[in-house]
Symmetry: C2
Subunit: 595 residues, 2 copies
């Protein structure tokens, strides 16, 4: 069985947790009613299952191939991309002025989850295009927008982000690519970039590279970086494609996963200089890059959820199908392995964490919509603060957890999981990049404790903790062992989170090194507790349905899943908080020679 | 830099934790003094670094190849195996009666760690040979021993274990391979086996398959399984190789890792029946298989440690070398990434867990030596009980942790970690099988809570807990913040372990399903706390050296590493115990349709 989008859970999160109804009240989203969104989700689910999923394993086995500075994507990718563009999927959240459909991020988050679950290697191409579109829409000149944006919204042309250089991975201060101004106002770009996703491929007519580079007079470090638009083919005045630009892919990487997605080494200006135009202002490239990166970081978090869901579905199908061993409590015949308690534990660990991650990410997406469109300024501000706090969590926690879930998927398969034919291993290999690109988990965590917690004295995280405590109060008003158990564990988790956040806010300025040791444990803590909070909200919403007479087994399952999450995942929160508060001494004691 | 065996830590564990001196007092091990063992370790370290490690990456890239029922190992493997045999490494712990050196398991455990760290794919060949040797030495007829064992001890012939069939992975009751007795006392074997490591290869003259099969009159289930010896080439009366047996490799698997190790589908008797002889008695095959499996399970645990160590060394070298970003507390120039707190945290997480796993595994190996050789029967019994309790922990916990450590190794490398050329990804891909083969973590955990805890009412684990509490008392007698911190966290960990073990012992019989949900969390709990106990013992031993005036920086580093382990790893113990005691309700609530 191939991937089927979890429509029911997606719709539940839309309506019960992320507040789809409130999103539809935002100016400009009036037509994005729950029914409209649901209909689009159903179409996207079909596309993911029928067009993209069938190419996932073959794409991995075949991989993208490089020869003579050209990249050939695996069989079927070109045609699938044509269908993707024809169906309008690329422009879902794009600006209507340039042909986009202007739909909320809440929707595009769910659609992205589907596309990535079905085929992450394919989906990376539009992901990068979206980042480039966002930067151009915000900072591009009118001419750049007119010349490039509509084609990118449609998907006829794709986009890339060119940040990394061999000597500069996460450290953009070290960027050396040069951009020399020309008499006609354009720039001549020279330099090498690495790790450029879809820097070259055969699925689109043109590729629009956004490139970080330095002008000759630029100050040193990150303050001297500018952003340039460098098309693969120059554009003639009539809009047709002109001559080939001096921007070539000179090799692609042999990677652990995402084999179908070409990771390119790009050489700009080997024959004298690539033609480029400035995006926005000189020396403000880093700022623009962060705009693209925030969207991209959220999108990578979604990839973690997507691969977790795909891994879960494959493991579940196997566990239902594979007959082996007796029931541990006794059975005459052999049983399907889903009957074995440890297989169930693993499946529940996958399912519950996927649902928790999804609930958090979609809630953040809806908050993003409110932050952009809400008529009330304070509400926009509150929503933006929540989004800013949670972006590193959605990115870091969802990808770390996505890796764990994909690995559990291999484990459920036993020996078959290690065989590539099965497909479970691919999800694990593909997932492994998600905690690295667009900023490693460590970088997300530093952003979280520095810019998002310490800088404002923990104001936003405290406000979120207050909301979490309201949920505990609501849980306490419910009957039954499940709600009591969830309330107890969530209460302890929130207390642990509060203690750790307090420690960070108080000590960051005076002892940044010690506090930074706890950055990733804190990111995981905030992720786990936020996920537990969302699962608790989900259980409460499910109880309302049950109390209202709804007999859909989805609702009691949701309550049991929330209970499982509390007892198997959320209960780790105090241990993580302990590490945040006490972990520095041992971590910083050794000299570098003592390792 | 290629792998260098951590000789200093190995020797420290030998002398200070595992009691090498007491091992040398055991009858038959009088010559295995610490100095002798150390000298052998140094030689093995050279062999691992100079012969095996250089073939690890090339072996992964090339892989073993199958054609015409024959397997060709990667370039260099055949010659390396010749050197391995010539240097006598295969017979290290073998029976001196058959040409072995009869050295303690304590030594062979450390040598195994080195070989596996340098090249796990290569080392799987002798690992399987050892399992087969062990079964033959214990249950083989005199003729089988004379004909096969000496050649296997020398390594001229290799061995395999043929358990798994397509319909029977972990469930040996489902074995269908048939063995029909012949007039000459031999058996005709027909059937198919899968996942047979080194079932066919070009490194040795002959391959001795140990095959589980059923005789025509055998009872159903595991009580009707017998063990047979099936050589690739029959042996002439003069000991020379005779005709080719009807046992062929019909394909090999395409796997996520250990590419150089051929994982074979073996067809026995496709041309009428393979010649085989009975090992031991009919219908007692399962018992013999368990003998081989206990040794193999311990050896796979060592693989987890080995890959963790190899991953650590590679990550450490990269972190010292790679210059990127400023010091977070401020620096003029860019610094090596080992200066960044989160990189240090990851390296310490790798280092401390490797050291904890090593200390536990070697201590178990030394207990094995005492269980076999100690003159006092009670001491043998106590040692054996400790070994039996800890084998599933060494196997399950060390491999689960080895996977985590190998994944951290990728993370330390950032984007370069995902590129296969770097080699970090290979350790992670190779490690992924270790939690699966020779019994998944779930199977180890069921063995642990059932046969090792519940069956004896938790007697052995309680005795171990009492030893742990003595260590806490010793810690409390020390000065300084590190010892106080370790004592606190270890004390809480032991309490959590005690509570969880008590729950299991009390409830297993009445509610096996609920208790089994907590099996893997309990295995991890026992592993983490046992590791913390060993690290605490290590810190105490280091303090004795420091107090005695030894200024080697290894000793303060050991104390800091133990402190780190307590604050970052051991502090998770209460959360795990919570899951053991409370985790069943959520895990068992869903019907199979509700997933």
């Amino acid at each position: 069985m191939s991937y089927q989008a979890p429509l029911k859970d997606m719709q539940f999160v839309f309506s019960e947790l992320a507040g789809a109804a409130r999103v539809a009240e935002l100016p400009g989203y009036e037509e994005a009613t729950f029914d409209v969104l649901s209909a689009i989700l159903e179409e996207a689910a079909k596309f993911a299952a029928e067009v993209l999923a069938p190419l996932n394993h073959s794409g991995d086995q075949e991989g993208s191939k490089w020869a003579n500075k050209q990249v050939t994507t695996p069989a079927g990718f070109k045609e699938a991309y044509r269908q993707f563009v024809a169906a309008g999927w690329n422009g879902l959240s794009g600006d209507p002025e340039f042909g986009g459909q202007g739909l909320p991020k809440l929707l595009s988050a769910a659609v992205q989850e589907m596309l990535n679950a079905a085929n992450i290697s394919f989906s990376l191409c539009p992901l990068l295009t979206h980042g480039a579109m966002e930067a151009l829409a915000l900072c591009g000149t009118e001419e750049q927008k007119q010349t490039y944006l509509a084609n990118m919204v449609e998907g006829r042309w794709t986009g890339t982000m060119n940040l990394t250089e061999p000597q500069a991975g996460s450290d953009l201060a070290a960027v050396r690519t040069r951009a020399v101004p020309q008499p006609d106002g354009s720039y001549r770009i020279t330099g090498q970039k690495i790790f450029i996703t879809y820097g070259e491929h055969d699925m689109a007519e043109n590729i629009i590279h956004l490139v970080l580079a330095r002008t000759p007079e630029a100050p040193e470090g990150v303050k001297g970086i500018s952003l340039f638009l460098v098309p693969k083919f120059l554009i003639n005045p009539d809009g047709s494609l002109g001559s080939r630009n001096d921007a070539y892919c000179v090799s692609i990487e042999h990677k652990m996963g995402i084999h179908a997605s070409p990771t390119c080494v790009m050489a700009f200006g080997d024959s004298g200089g690539a033609y480029g135009t400035l995006v926005g202002r000189e020396n403000e490239g880093l700022k623009y890059m962060f705009i693209m990166m925030n969207a991209a970081r959220f999108a990578v978090g979604i990839e973690g959820i997507a691969l977790g869901e795909a891994a879960y579905q494959k493991a579940l199908a196997y566990a239902r199908d594979r007959v082996q061993g007796r029931d541990i409590a006794g059975s005459a015949a052999s049983v399907a392995i889903i009957r074995h308690p440890d297989i169930r534990r693993m499946l529940m660990l996958m399912k519950s964490q996927n649902e928790a991650m999804r609930a958090l990410a979609y809630t953040v997406a809806a908050a993003h919509d409110a932050a952009v469109r809400h008529p009330d300024k304070d509400e926009r501000g509150r929503s933006q603060a929540f989004v800013d706090l949670m972006i590193p969590v959605v990115k870091g926690w969802s990808t770390e957890t996505g890796n764990e879930v994909a690995s559990l998927g291999v484990q459920v398969h036993g020996g078959m999981g290690f065989i590539e034919e099965t497909g479970a291993a691919q999800f694990m290999r593909d997932a492994r990049i998600t905690t690295i690109y667009e900023g490693t988990t460590g970088i997300q965590a530093n952003d979280l404790i520095g810019r998002k917690i310490a800088r404002e004295g923990g104001a936003t995280v405290k406000a979120v903790i207050a909301l979490m405590q309201q949920t505990v109060a609501e849980l306490s008003g419910q009957k039954g062992a499940d709600f009591a158990a969830i309330a107890g564990v969530l209460g302890s988790g929130i207390a642990a989170l509060g203690e750790a956040a307090e420690y960070i806010a108080k000590n960051y300025a005076a002892d940044i090194k010690s506090v930074s040791v706890g950055a990733v444990p804190f990111l995981k803590l905030l992720g786990i507790v936020s996920g537990g909070w969302q699962m608790a909200r989900a259980a409460l919403a499910a109880q309302v349905k049950i109390s209202g007479g709804d007999s859909d087994p989805f609702y009691p399952a949701k309550i049991a899943t929330a209970r499982f999450y509390a007892d198997h995942v959320l209960c780790a929160a105090p241990g993580l908080a302990f590490t945040v508060v006490h972990g520095a001494a041992g971590a910083l004691a050794l000299t570098e020679e003592q390792f």
